[in-house]
């Protein structure tokens, strides 16, 4: 008699697994077993809903086309829509879900949607009415004298109308030939299997099915009407610089009748036109800084940053313009709002008011987009002035792309290794 010790634990487990695979090959299902299961529905169980098979492997590009860069662009573009109050129209930022796949399919069949979006941030609530079309047109009614923003996301054009002043502010946004800039494109890109069922909840008098998606730094919740298979409400929550921002989309009207005149993205007759985009693109402006000291590789010929990046940089330019060349000490909400308030309330800055709206909106957009992707906006402007020759003022990285804003407010993409050392606080 002898003892054989199979001491190789991993090997024994693998052998057991392999043996299980081989020795438990499917036997024939006894017909009476199948028959019993077939009769379940007839014996008091409810019949299931229609089946829409979809291989799990199809699961999901992650929202907004799956690109971190795109996420940022979405946040940025949508934030630009709103301007000052609080980077408002972020309502389009909601992210996808899954078992509500039927709702995704339903939304994809729609061509127009009207809804209300509410942005709750740091105790203040901003409310907007939006109309979006599957053709990429968005109408954002901001209420009061803030006017209306019209966006053609495919052409990359935004027109902000201020009826009280008969003014139209025109800007270029990121083109939206990707599934990221509007609700419809967003639902086209949705990952149907990402949603986690959360049970049922009565919302607006409707017994809805609730789904949740957690992605990046944000959580999205969807309330789906099981009768229409369309969203009744959506929310997105994310941490923005330590404060929780909640965006709620509600009061949906799917495929309502809409006057086409409301969706024309153009400057109406009788309106004075102003172009908001910075006059000089980054690539055309020499960078008058000590690049070596700033840690920037002067030999590198990086591509120019995108227009939204330039609009973001305009925030710093505006801050310096209203504060005798000084840059803000930090980019906290309190600081930004204080600067914004000053510009909007001081008559001598009246001409900069709408520009500041877009610029502050772009700043929030960048912060939100980075927050959603777990990245951070780095700022080196404390105690500095415009054109002080010290180089980079701020930078952020999305994916493999690092965008820097220089002290002359030019923007460019730099190599990740070329960013300046972080301040100790970071």
């Amino acid at each position: 008699m002898s003892l054989n010790h199979h001491a190789d634990a991993g090997s024994s487990l693998d052998r057991a697994i392999e043996a299980t695979r081989r020795l438990t090959a499917a036997p024939h299902v006894p017909p009476h077993v199948v028959a019993r299961a077939r009769n379940l529905a007839a014996s008091g169980h409810t019949v299931p809903r229609p089946v829409e098979p979809a291989p799990p492997s199809l699961a999901a590009p992650h929202g907004f086309g799956g690109s971190r860069r795109t996420l940022l662009q979405v946040a940025l573009t949508l934030a630009l829509l709103v301007g000052v109050g609080v980077a408002a129209t972020l309502s389009g930022l909601l992210q996808p879900t899954s078992a509500f796949a039927a709702a995704v399919e339903q939304v994809r069949k729609m061509s127009v949607v009207r809804f209300v979006s509410e942005v709750n941030y740091a105790g203040s609530v901003s409310r907007f009415t939006q109309i979006q079309t599957a053709a990429g047109i968005t109408r954002l009614e901001m209420g009061g004298d803030a006017g209306v923003a019209l966006v053609d996301s495919r052409a990359g054009t935004m027109v902000h109308l201020v009826p009280a002043e008969r003014k139209a502010f025109v800007s270029q946004t990121e083109r939206a030939d990707r599934p990221d800039q509007d609700l419809f494109k967003y639902f086209e890109a949705i990952a149907p299997n990402d949603g986690q069922p959360q049970g049922r909840e009565r919302v607006d008098g409707i017994d809805t099915e609730v789904f949740k998606v957690t992605q990046g730094g944000s959580t999205q919740t969807f309330w789906i009407n099981p009768a229409t298979l369309l969203p009744v409400r959506m929310t997105q929550q994310f941490d923005m610089s330590g404060s929780l921002m909640t965006i709620t989309m509600k009061d949906f009207e799917w495929d309502p009748e809409v006057d086409p005149a409301l969706l024309v993205v153009a400057v109406p007759e009788g309106y004075a036109r102003s172009d908001l985009n910075p006059a000089a693109p980054a690539a055309e402006k020499p960078v008058a800084v000590d690049e070596t000291a700033a840690g920037v590789n002067p030999a590198a010929q990086e591509p120019a940053a995108t227009e939204p990046d330039a609009a973001f940089a305009d925030f710093f330019r505006l801050c310096s313009e209203v504060d005798a060349g000084r840059l803000p000490d930090d980019l906290s909400r309190a600081t930004v709002m204080a600067i914004t308030k000053r510009i909007t309330e001081d008559p001598k800055f009246a001409a900069k008011k709408h520009r500041m709206g877009a610029a502050a909106g772009s700043l929030f957009g960048v912060q939100i987009g980075l927050g959603m992707t777990g990245e951070k906006l780095h700022y080196l402007g404390k105690g500095r002035r415009a054109n002080d020759g010290k180089g980079i003022v701020a930078w952020y990285t999305v994916g493999k792309t690092t965008t820097a804003i220089n002290d002359d407010f030019s923007t460019r993409i730099i190599a990740p290794n070329d960013v300046p050392a972080l301040p100790k606080a970071e």
Binding site: M1, D8, V47, P197
Partner: protein, 171 residues
């Protein structure tokens, strides 16, 4: 609409296979089969089922593991009545096959002793080849967490399945 019979017919083989991997005893497996489809029918009234095969495999695995764990707790049937492997009642087999059957039984028994989430993650990943993300969706956890569960499960199973001490007669 009455798609249920066709759903059962289409997936009966898959469900049966899933259950029989875990449960050797035919009557137990048949009960588990009914419980699986009953649970699937009930669940499908609460949520839209996008992919019936994966949906049923997850339920079947869950049901079979529950039954396995229940039997494991009863203990006597597991260890003495050979409810899983029925090795004692089988017709004589070559020694190597018998040894493998014993391994299979031991693995089933070991899986039944694991925490439920580990057991389910291990079985779905190892025998049903479900991706971590899908298992995570089923368990309500992240794919990374599934990886952690699998690691723990394998570690626990290794200590359970081995070292095995086999006593053999020398000629």
């Amino acid at each position: 609409m009455n798609a249920w019979p066709s759903i059962v017919e289409s997936h009966a083989g898959l469900v049966w296979q899933t259950i029989r991997r875990l449960i050797d005893h035919e009557e137990d497996a048949a009960d588990c089969f009914q419980e699986t489809f009953a649970a699937a029918l009930a669940a499908s009234n609460q949520q839209m089922v996008r992919h019936w095969p994966a949906f049923l495999v997850r339920i079947a695995t869950n049901q079979a593991l529950d039954r396995l764990r229940s039997r494991s707790r009863e203990h006597t049937r597991v260890t003495h009545d050979h409810d899983f492997g029925q090795t004692a009642s089988r017709i004589p087999e070559p020694a190597a096959v018998a040894e493998e059957r014993e391994l299979v039984d031991r693995l089933r028994h070991a899986v039944a002793t694991l925490p439920k989430d580990q057991a389910e993650a291990f079985w779905l990943a190892t025998f049903e080849s479900l991706p971590h993300a899908e298992i995570g969706a089923s368990l309500g956890i992240t794919a990374n967490h599934v990886g952690v569960l699998l690691h723990r499960a394998r570690r626990a199973l290794q200590s359970f399945v081995a070292p095995s001490i086999r006593v053999t007669e020398e000629p």
